[in-house]
């Protein structure tokens, strides 16, 4: 009788462990994005323009350089930080100055943001300035989009294809 009770006790503990694992392996449910929401991902990886324009070296300067380094143009490595602004329905959501990566600040400036918005019609507007030598954004794009529930809309940037890519 004692053994039977012990086996029952063991079964109870095994069952409790199984219930704990079985339940928490898949419950409670977690809502990442609600059913009436959409996601806007705003991202770019873009190298800003050099902080100074390239300069023509004079003949005297070239002669002072070792023969293997006599390139006619002198260009700095450091790139400009990329100034970026993003508006949703006329409201400024992001205003970021993305510094160039790298110890010599000669890498790309990058940004990634994920934004959850109610599904429906939205006006998206993005502006980007990639040079310290200019005052106003040299890339901009605005678009009215109809976001379906659960849709992921990406605002990317590709200078080789003309600038902003809304897709």
């Amino acid at each position: 009788m004692g053994n039977v009770l012990r086996y029952i006790g063991q079964a109870v503990f095994y069952a409790l462990f199984a219930v704990f694992i079985g339940y928490f392996a898949s419950a409670p449910a977690y809502v990442h994005v609600a059913a009436d929401q959409a996601v806007v991902k705003v991202s770019f990886s873009h190298g800003g323009q050099p902080v100074k324009p390239c300069r023509q070296r004079s003949k005297e300067e070239l002669e002072r350089l070792p023969p293997n380094m006599r390139t006619p143009m002198e260009c700095v490595r450091e790139r400009s930080p990329v100034e970026f602004e993003f508006e949703l329905d006329g409201q400024k959501i992001y205003s970021v100055s993305a510094p160039p990566r790298g110890l010599s600040r000669d890498g790309a400036s990058t940004l990634y943001r994920r934004l959850t918005v109610p599904a429906g019609e939205h006006r998206l507007s993005a502006r980007l300035k990639d040079s310290v030598l200019i005052d106003k954004p040299n890339y901009q794009h605005a678009e009215t989009v109809m976001l379906k529930p659960g849709q992921i809309f990406v605002v990317d940037f590709d200078a080789r294809h003309g600038g902003f890519v809304f897709k």
Binding site: G22, F24, A25, V31, V33, S45, I152
Partner: protein, 526 residues
């Protein structure tokens, strides 16, 4: 620190829970005494079921999900069983490993000589989680998509990437089949590294318990198999990076930190994870209760028998050439590894109270309670015993407090560990008729604070491990009763019942000769 003040209460709770498990499983099979070994066992279940799944798994954006779906339709529900075992054994491993960590902390088994096992356990947590989380990616369903995106965002909080990792998961066009090559490589490599790290983890202990008792293995396996068959693991909808992930059946055992990445921020979760890691890493050096002085070897009395070397649970003793006796060995104690448990002193053949020298010095001894001092204390205790069923109790500092059993007919002695008791002391107590019985107690069975104190004592008393118990008195006069910190009442009842039985035995009487060696019996009036 608040957590240190909270610990005694938590320890009390843990002991009560363990007592409940004792009732159902018995002390030897109590799963809470085998948490580390169960972690190993669940790892093997994960590995075996993983080999089956890997055989049928295809890599690729669509092929991965489809192959996982196909596995679920294998005949005899083999695929469902394998997938369920793989997932649920992984979850069970996390649970028992976290309980193992909590239990070692509650019992303060991480200070001093135990620092190595504790520190090497910390990276195991990271490897265990990394191995498991990485596995969720392979099904490439919506849960995998969520994990991929959130992991990428979490890693992007570190200023080490030239480009955000999350850009790899911007939309469906961003991902290609090559991601699976990396993931499969990680899912094989991380668990292998985890296995190697667990080997490192148990390096500094003798005979590590890496296999739980067979009954526990069978019970756990049956539980997992039933769970796998009756609550099958089913994938979410296929991943689609153009569509947001909505409601998820999250595995909270592995992924409970993920919602925090959104709720707080990726950086805050890094602070939390690294903070916990740092706290665990420095724990062995935080203020702790004072450790007793370590074992000391007396070369003149050490005969190089190597019993202490064989019995030390923490490999703190090595045998070196004896400096004074050519051809002989000498025990040498590594103070950094010594737990001061005294098991070595209990194993020493020279630690016998019958030696007639005035200052009893054994080959290896504990400065905090030498064999000589113990003999003095026992001799004084025997002098004052009165009444019927006089009992000497030897207990352990980490178990039920035997000092509270003291009485007119009961003398009690606390040792660092039950294994510290040389069996000859039992004979010493019973010879001469100054006591009627000896009760030896210690930590709850199967959970000796110093790992092998209970086992070695049982084996020494059973005559299967040196030094043997050689008492000429009847064996029923020697009683072993394991009782944990919370089991004092149980031990009192055990002592009462034992004394009742002693009353029915013929009373031991002192021999006529002064040597006190001869034993005679007379019928008791009980």
């Amino acid at each position: 620190m608040a957590c240190l003040r909270f610990r005694p209460r938590l320890r009390h709770t843990v002991l009560r829970v363990e007592s409940l498990f004792d009732v159902a499983f018995g002390e030897r099979l109590n799963p809470l005494h085998h948490l580390g070994a169960l972690g190993f066992f669940f790892f093997w279940v994960v590995l075996a079921s993983g080999v089956y799944l890997f055989t049928f798994f295809d890599t690729g954006i669509t092929a991965a999900y489809q192959s996982v779906e196909d596995i679920a339709h294998h005949p005899l529900r083999l695929g469902i069983l394998a997938r369920g075992l793989h997932r649920y054994a992984s979850d069970a491993m996390v649970v028992v490993v976290l309980l193992h960590l909590l239990r070692e902390w509650v019992y303060e088994r991480y200070h001093g000589f135990r620092w190595y096992s504790w520190i090497t356990g910390v990276p195991l947590l990271w490897l265990m989680y990394a191995s498991g989380v990485n596995g969720f990616w392979l099904a490439w369903d919506q849960l995998a998509q969520y994990i991929a995106q959130m992991t990428a965002e979490w890693f992007d909080a570190l200023p080490i990437f030239s480009e955000p990792v999350a850009r790899n998961f911007l939309n469906a066009a961003s991902v290609n089949d090559r991601i699976f090559t990396l993931q499969v490589f990680l899912h094989l490599g991380l668990p292998l590294f985890l296995l190697f790290a667990t080997w490192v983890h148990v390096q500094r202990i003798t005979n590590p318990k890496t296999t739980p008792p067979r009954a526990l293995m069978l019970g756990s396996l049956a539980m997992l198999a039933l769970l796998a068959l009756f609550v099958p693991v089913v994938p979410h909808a296929p991943a689609n990076l153009d569509v947001a992930v909505g409601t998820l059946r999250l595995d909270w055992i592995f992924l409970s930190g993920y919602p925090l990445i959104e709720l707080w921020s990726p950086g805050a979760v890094w602070v939390l994870a690294l903070g916990i890691t740092l706290l665990l890493a420095v724990a062995p050096w935080l203020p702790a209760r004072h450790d007793a002085p370590v074992a000391v070897v007396d070369p003149a009395n050490c005969n190089g028998c190597a019993r202490c070397f064989a019995d030390c649970p923490f490999a703190a003793i090595v045998m070196a050439p004896h400096p004074d006796k050519p051809g002989h060995k000498l025990a040498v104690v590594d103070a950094k590894l010594c737990a001061a448990c005294g098991i070595c002193a209990g194993s020493c053949p020279s630690a016998t109270p019958f030696r007639s020298i005035a200052e009893l010095v054994s080959g290896i001894d504990m400065p905090a309670l030498t064999v000589h001092r113990l003999r003095e204390q026992v001799a004084q205790g025997l002098e004052r015993l009165r009444g019927e069923a006089r009992v000497v109790v030897f207990g352990c500092e980490h178990a039920a407090d035997v000092a509270r059993l003291e009485g007119e007919s009961v003398a009690a002695y606390r040792l660092p560990c039950t294994g510290n008791l040389p069996p000859a002391f039992v004979d010493y107590v019973l010879r001469g008729g100054r006591a009627d019985g000896v009760l030896v107690t210690g930590c709850n069975g199967g959970d000796c604070h110093f790992r092998f104190g209970n086992d070695w004592t049982e084996q020494r008393f059973a005559g299967t491990r040196e030094p043997h118990l050689r008492t000429r008195a009847a064996r029923e006069r020697v009683h072993l009763a394991w009782a944990g910190e919370n089991d004092l009442e149980k031990l009192k009842r055990e002592l009462d019942a034992y004394r009742e039985r002693l009353c029915h035995l013929p009373r031991l009487v002192a021999p006529a000769a002064a040597t006190g060696v001869a034993l005679r019996r007379r019928v008791s009036h009980g």
